[in-house]
């Protein structure tokens, strides 16, 4: 069978927090593996903002002359047009994680499951608290994904009138901000049963704040995305507050790059949409989500 040459570009957000660092790591893993084949070339670009990513797309097309693109858009709406332009130049486009507002601009879509990312912890917490208790939540940086997750979380909580979501504030997917927000939640609310930190970086800050305040009322801190340290804690059972997590592994980028490169090599197409489900991680299945070499 004829093997096409593949010149693949990867455009992802820069490693400004752990999850994004995981993306960079997995992109590089995929590059290492694919480039064992001399007919495949992978170019990775990281951007710290939507306009920068749009610039990189231009440069990838004009200068690097890519024929396939895997992109994790910095922002869905903002990158729709730039990606359209890339596709118009005949490049095969796989979009990862954050869907474009106009799906005709992509050839394939591989994503995590943001709804489940909010729903799974909601359902878990509702069950663990027996439908009764006080929850505080920390949100990420104001973005569409953050909204999706929050909405999913709240829609589940609507069915559990016994559970009160006391407040939700932005911890910006950042340990320091989460620490401060949690400190103030602890000052403000004397009875908290569980915390939904919506990201393991934030969960980390939350744990430190709880530890410092020596509060015993909190039973569960639910992070998210399955960071290596948290999964390890879960596996070892070393912190009673950490009982479960929800997967949202940056590894899907690795899969997406590999799938795209290999399909292009064979001249095949990818399925229009592939959703990598977000599933509950507990002590039992934790080892399947533990990647000790990844920075995330």
């Amino acid at each position: 069978q004829a093997q096409n040459k593949v010149n693949l570009g990867v455009a992802i957000p820069a490693a400004t927090h752990s999850f994004a660092a995981g993306l960079v790591y997995w992109a590089n893993e995929a590059k290492k593996e694919l480039e064992k084949d001399p007919n495949i070339k992978v170019t990775i670009k990281t951007a710290s903002g939507a306009p920068e990513q749009a610039n990189q797309l231009q440069d990838l097309v004009t200068a690097t002359k890519i024929d396939s693109l895997v992109i994790l858009p910095f922002e869905s709406a903002a990158l729709t047009r730039p990606v359209q332009q890339v596709k118009a130049k005949g490049v095969y486009v796989t979009v990862v994680d954050r869907g474009l507002t106009d799906t005709s601009a992509q050839d394939a879509y591989v994503s995590g499951d943001n709804t489940a990312f909010g729903k799974v912890p909601a359902e878990y917490l509702a069950k663990a608290l027996n439908g009764k208790g006080n929850i505080v939540a920390l949100r990420g940086i104001p973005t569409t994904i953050d909204n999706e997750r929050m909405d999913a979380f709240m829609s589940v909580m609507k069915n559990h009138p016994g559970i009160k979501v006391l407040d939700a504030k932005h911890g910006n997917w950042n340990r320091d901000d989460a620490f401060k927000v949690m400190q103030d939640f602890l000052t403000r609310f004397k009875e908290i049963d569980a915390v939904w930190a919506a990201d393991d970086d934030m969960a980390f800050g939350v744990l430190r704040a709880i530890e410092q305040a020596k509060r015993k009322d909190i039973k569960i801190v639910f992070g998210g995305a399955g960071a290596k340290a948290m999964v390890k804690t879960l596996m070892d059972g070393s912190n009673p507050l950490i009982q479960a997590n929800v997967s949202y592994s940056p590894k899907f980028l690795y899969e997406a790059i590999k799938m795209t490169a290999l399909a292009r090599q064979k001249g095949q197409k990818l399925p229009a949409s592939t959703i990598v489900p977000s599933v509950l991680i507990t002590k039992e299945n934790a080892k399947d989500f533990y990647f000790p070499d990844s920075p995330f």
């Binding site: 990281t46 939507a50 231009q58 004009t62 200068a63 922002e75 729709t80 104001p142 909204n147």
Partner: protein, 331 residues
């Protein structure tokens, strides 16, 4: 009566003709040579136009920022302001479209709104600084938060996206070209030329320099200091408005991360271009070169993969310092 100085030890040498700031230009040249060596594609017209087009936003803002800095002020809010203007413009256009306006009319209305809003925000800055007698740094640090918060609020934390039909009607403003040169580059050039004329050839520009050099002297010379300052911040606002009206069709959306750190880039372009932060003197030409220089650095980094992606920012840092070193103040 001043003594004839035929026998004087060549004092004329101390009054050399002042050339436009050569440091940044030299830096740009060296960078371009490096770029060409690293990737053949660098020196193509396509790439050059790409770089110029994307420089347009920061470049246009930097032209306005140059005036503010020469006048001895600063504006930290331009990034947030651009984001809020983009958001409001998009909201407005999306509201107008269903009313049956033709898309072109909606787009024109949107563009006018962008400029108008920019002027209004700039005016507010100017009034707070002159009438309110608050340091520009504080005023614009405050509005930096305020503008972005309101955008986040309007966007409900997510993104505001332009309707598709409108996006198509608006697209050519960014993606179109005239005589082979993209529209944003034309606009950038026009703004830069207008800025240079305004600075060097009008009384207003002269007053801006006088105020930055010595506000008291300007006041004594019956320069209307407050009015000039208000005008300067308004001018920057208008520049931000123009940059935004070019930005909206490019990405067709605004979100809480839009325009993040543009203020730093714009200020950096001005300073790298040889204008002193303390005000009094500066040049639009240098500012334009500074803005282009900054985007060329990241363009070259995009075109090559010789160093770890993590170190991109370090390379930019080293280049900025090196360029500044080349044009450092004489002792």
């Amino acid at each position: 009566m001043p003594p004839e100085r035929t026998d004087a030890p060549a004092p004329a040498a101390t009054r050399r003709w002042r050339l436009p700031p050569l440091g940044p230009l030299l830096g740009l040249l060296l960078l371009c040579i490096a770029g060409t060596l690293l990737n053949r594609e660098f020196a193509t017209t396509d790439n050059a136009l790409n770089v110029l087009t994307r420089t347009a936003f920061i470049g246009i803002i930097a032209v306005g920022m140059c005036f503010v800095i020469i006048s001895g002020g600063i504006d930290l809010s331009v990034g947030s302001m651009a984001a809020l203007i983009a958001g409001v413009t998009i909201l407005l256009m999306n509201k107008l479209a269903p009313l049956g306006w033709p898309p072109a009319a909606v787009v024109v209305a949107g563009m006018a709104t962008a400029v108008l809003l920019g002027a209004l925000f700039g005016l507010a800055h100017g009034l707070l600084i002159t009438r309110g007698r608050i340091e520009p740094f504080i005023v614009t640090l405050g509005t930096l938060g305020i503008f972005r918060a309101y955008l986040t609020y309007f966007a409900d934390g997510g993104a505001l996206a332009l309707d598709n039909t409108l996006a198509d009607a608006y697209g050519p403003v960014y993606y179109g070209s005239l005589l082979g040169v993209p529209i944003p580059v034309w606009v950038f050039a026009l703004v830069a030329i207008a800025g240079a004329l305004l600075l060097k050839r009008t009384a207003y520009g002269r007053y801006v320099q006088a105020i930055g050099s010595n506000e008291q002297v300007a006041r004594y010379a019956a320069v209307d200091v407050d009015r000039t300052k208000v005008l300067t911040y308004t001018l920057l606002g208008v520049c931000v408005g123009i940059a935004t009206l070019l930005y909206v069709p490019r990405l067709g959306s605004a979100s809480p991360t839009t325009g993040l750190l543009w203020e730093l880039e714009a200020i950096a372009a001005v300073i790298v271009g040889g204008t002193a932060l303390r005000g009094g003197a500066g040049s639009i030409g240098g500012t334009v070169v500074g803005a282009i220089l900054l985007s060329v650095i990241s363009n070259i980094l995009n075109l090559t993969s010789i160093i770890s992606v993590y170190l991109n920012a370090a390379v930019q840092g080293f280049v900025i310092i090196a360029v500044a070193f080349m044009q450092r103040r004489r002792p």
